[in-house]
């Protein structure tokens, strides 16, 4: 059991947890993820390591409630425990040593930018962070990420905070204004990462994305997480989750991510009909 030491609501459906997991904290690096199982007989779901504290033996996760398992997790309180937490899984991000980097985050993807921004700042890399959400209430971690970035830009769909539009609009503005960008790192929904990759493709700017396919074991045993990168089949859990955004077959990845849509809705319906039992 892995104890929740701290919980914070970032939005109505986005929750931050600091969890006691010494084995994970000990070797976690930016870009890696973990797998949790909330309860018996629960699903194994992957979550990015948003931050870690080696001396305290804790990791931070940020969960966006989208279905049954993330809602079960979101309902846990401080002092309660998560049944299984395993990691760090995947390969660490290979971050640049110098230059100017733009970090792009959407949804829960803002959180995992935190350790990357910290690591980049420590190396003296110039960091611009671009985050987006539907409206001002859903913008998360602006302050924390801003503190670790040289520049912080926000976009909302309705313009209630920052520029009206999408994160890719902000990115395009920068590129159109002739800004020098050596590398872009994008984390968030597949569709957003695809748009970012398309925005940087013409200029040939190296763009790293953190793909989030459906996973089961997270150790390379099942192949559920396979994505096509540069025409080759790769397992996101052991070869990734970070890949070259210009080489990822996003259309396939997005389609595979929806494979269980009907079952997911069914699970949610049955669970809600039963009064959402813990």
């Amino acid at each position: 059991m892995f104890k929740i030491l701290h919980k914070r609501l970032l939005t109505g459906v986005t929750k931050l947890f600091v969890v006691e997991a010494p084995l994970v904290a000990r070797r976690a690096q930016p870009g890696q993820f973990l797998i949790v199982r909330v309860r018996e007989p629960g699903e194994r779901i992957p979550l990015t390591i948003a931050d870690y504290d080696r001396s305290a033996g804790t990791v931070t996760i940020v969960v966006q409630e989208v279905g049954k398992t993330t809602r079960l997790l979101g309902a846990l309180e401080e002092g309660e425990a998560i049944l299984d937490v395993v990691g760090p899984l995947g390969r660490p991000a290979e971050l640049p040593e110098t230059g100017r980097v733009v970090l792009v985050g959407g949804g829960f993807g803002v959180a995992p930018l935190l350790p990357k921004a910290r690591a980049l700042k420590e190396r003296g890399v110039h960091v611009t962070s671009v985050i987006g959400a539907r409206n001002a209430d859903l913008v998360i971690l602006e302050e924390e990420l801003g503190a670790r970035s040289d520049r912080m830009l926000v976009a909302t769909d309705d313009g209630s905070r920052g520029r009206k539009g999408l994160v890719t609009d902000v990115l395009r503005d920068l590129l159109d204004a002739g800004e020098v960008v050596d590398e872009v790192i994008a984390i968030g929904p597949m569709i957003m990462m695809q748009a970012v990759a398309e925005a940087t493709r013409p200029a040939g700017i190296r763009t790293l994305v953190s793909v989030n396919p459906i996973m089961v074991d997270g150790t390379g045993m099942c192949g559920a997480c396979r994505v096509t990168v540069g025409g080759q089949t790769r397992f996101a859990c052991v070869d990734g989750p970070i890949f070259d955004g210009h080489a990822v077959d996003f259309a396939e990845a997005i389609r595979r991510g929806r494979m269980y849509r009907a079952e997911e809705q069914e699970a949610l319906r049955v669970w809600e009909a039963a009064g959402c039992p813990r």
């Binding site: 084995l23 994970v24 000990r26 070797r27 976690a28 199982r37 007989p41 629960g42 699903e43 194994r44 049954k68 398992t69 049944l83 299984d84 937490v85 395993v86 990691g87 760090p88 899984l89 089961v216 074991d217 150790t219 390379g220 045993m221 099942c222 192949g223 559920a224 396979r226 096509t228 089949t233 052991v238 396939e252 389609r255 595979r256 494979m259 269980y260 079952e263 997911e264 069914e266 699970a267 049955v270 669970w271």
Partner: protein
């Protein structure tokens, strides 16, 4: 001496028409009367060849003798001396190629049903509750990585010597393939759990959710004071065919399909949280034990039709004969000499069919085996909506790529000497991680040999139990 009954006694099984739709165990086990009568068939050879056929040398003659004298507890004690997982082995060992193959009766009659008797003894004892007083070893610490048959056996053996053993397992449950691969209807999970508890009672500490190589690493374990590390990480990496359409919705590796159903309990969805989707017509590619398990599981989770597609002939099938027969009885179809070419898209990213080519047996090659060659113009489409690839697996590279100086063969297997020592001092390995996908009992044998080697090597350095 009474005349020997030439045929072995058959074990009652669930009616195929019933069982093809449920997950209860197919084979129901001997009754005491049947077991007694089967035990009587053993002639108690002076030179029991059967034991030479068993990779862990179960004292077969002795345990059957005890059964003949109506002492099942004594029989169990005898088996446990060399085999910590008798209820598992009695069910899944390829006995026909091992102990039973060498039974003297096999020359003229059917061999003694050694596996069935072993299962009977183990089940009887479990039902009676195996009350072992928990032990607390005090010796030096040894780490075991991987909770499959190899790791469990190594851990149990080392704890028996008196070492303090910690077993690290990547998944949330130990058992390895016994939990995630072999289905409930062939090996009920309660049985695996009970056998694992038996090993825990020897004093083995189990730590699940720990992927060694990621955290902790083997080097960290050695620095933390584990005197030796045993790697029993199995061969879990699934192979794909690399044909077009492999990433369509409805294409699974057998490992994913079986893991969803067995480990994650998807057959109980939505009460259990993990889903699995199997369509109306399922093709499983391959013809080993894994393929048989996948195809029979597909029927049980609701497929209307399920078939095996295999590019060679029945003679080359590697599945146990009994599993093949059970599959036939349950209505599984077999398409031999049929080679998959590509998987067809329904236009929305789901499987609509499997295009195959008919093969025929060509001239024998140098090894004497007839190689299948394609029949020109024989392309045709099997109308299926789910394709499961059971093409074999190779060792998972997570541990080996994290450990400097560990020699690994080109195909991924960890290199060891005949005792299980690797190229790294204090690091040992065994089971599928070394041999590639093999059998439960061979993995157990390797775990045991490595445990003995660890004990001997530590003794030489004056670090062993009592040293």
């Amino acid at each position: 001496m009474p005349k020997i009954r030439p045929e072995r006694l058959t074990m009652p099984v669930q009616d195929p028409k019933e069982r093809r739709r449920n997950f209860r165990e197919v084979a129901l086990g001997f009754t005491p009367e049947l077991a007694r009568e089967e035990a009587e068939r053993c002639i108690q050879c002076k030179n029991p060849f059967c034991e030479d056929g068993c990779p862990v040398h179960v004292p077969i003659r002795e345990f059957i003798d005890l059964l003949q004298r109506d002492d099942p507890q004594g029989a169990l004690a005898a088996i446990l001396r060399t085999n910590a997982l008798p209820a598992v082995c009695g069910r899944v060992c390829p006995q026909e190629d091992q102990c039973e193959k060498l039974c003297v009766l096999a020359k003229r009659y059917q061999p003694v049903a050694i596996g069935r008797l072993e299962r009977y003894v183990a089940d009887l004892a479990r039902d009676a509750g195996r009350a072992v007083a928990p032990r607390r070893p005090r010796g030096p610490r040894v780490a075991v990585v991987g909770g499959g048959p190899a790791g469990l056996t190594a851990a149990g053996t080392l704890a028996g010597f008196g070492y303090r053993v910690t077993l690290f397992e990547a998944l949330h449950t130990v058992g390895g393939v016994l939990m995630y691969g072999i289905p409930e209807f062939r090996l009920p999970k309660d049985i695996v759990r009970a056998e694992v508890e038996g090993i825990q009672a020897l004093g083995v500490e189990i730590r699940t959710d720990a992927v060694v190589g990621q955290s902790p690493t083997v080097d960290e374990l050695l620095e933390e004071g584990y005197e030796a590390v045993f790697l029993g990480t199995g061969a879990g990496l699934p192979r794909f065919l690399h044909i077009p359409g492999e990433n369509l919705d409805g294409v699974y590796s057998a490992n994913e399909f079986l893991t969803r159903v067995n480990l994650m309990g998807a057959w109980r969805f939505p009460e259990w949280d993990t889903p699995v989707r199997v369509g109306r017509r399922v093709a499983v590619i391959g013809a080993g034990n894994t393929a048989m398990d996948a195809v029979r599981t597909a029927l049980r989770v609701g497929a209307e039709e399920a078939m095996i597609v295999y590019r060679r002939s029945p003679a080359e099938m590697t599945a146990r004969h009994e599993e093949y027969e059970h599959a036939v009885e349950e209505g599984v179809q077999f398409r031999f000499l049929t080679n998959p070419q590509r998987i067809l898209d329904d236009g929305e990213g789901r499987v609509r069919g499997l295009e195959v080519l008919t093969m025929e047996l060509g001239e024998p090659d140098r090894s004497g085996r007839c190689r299948p060659v394609p029949v020109a113009g024989s392309e045709h489409v099997l109308a299926v909506d789910t394709v499961i690839l059971a093409l074999g697996t190779s060792p998972n590279p997570v541990v080996s790529r994290s450990l400097e100086g560990l020699e690994v063969a080109e195909w991924g297997g960890i290199r060891t000497d005949e005792h299980g020592a690797t190229s790294r001092l204090r690091v040992y390995a065994g089971g599928d991680a070394v041999t590639g996908a093999a059998t439960v009992i061979l993995a157990m044998g390797a775990g045991k040999r490595a445990a003995q080697a660890i004990h001997r090597d530590l003794a030489q350095r004056g670090e062993a139990v009592g040293g």
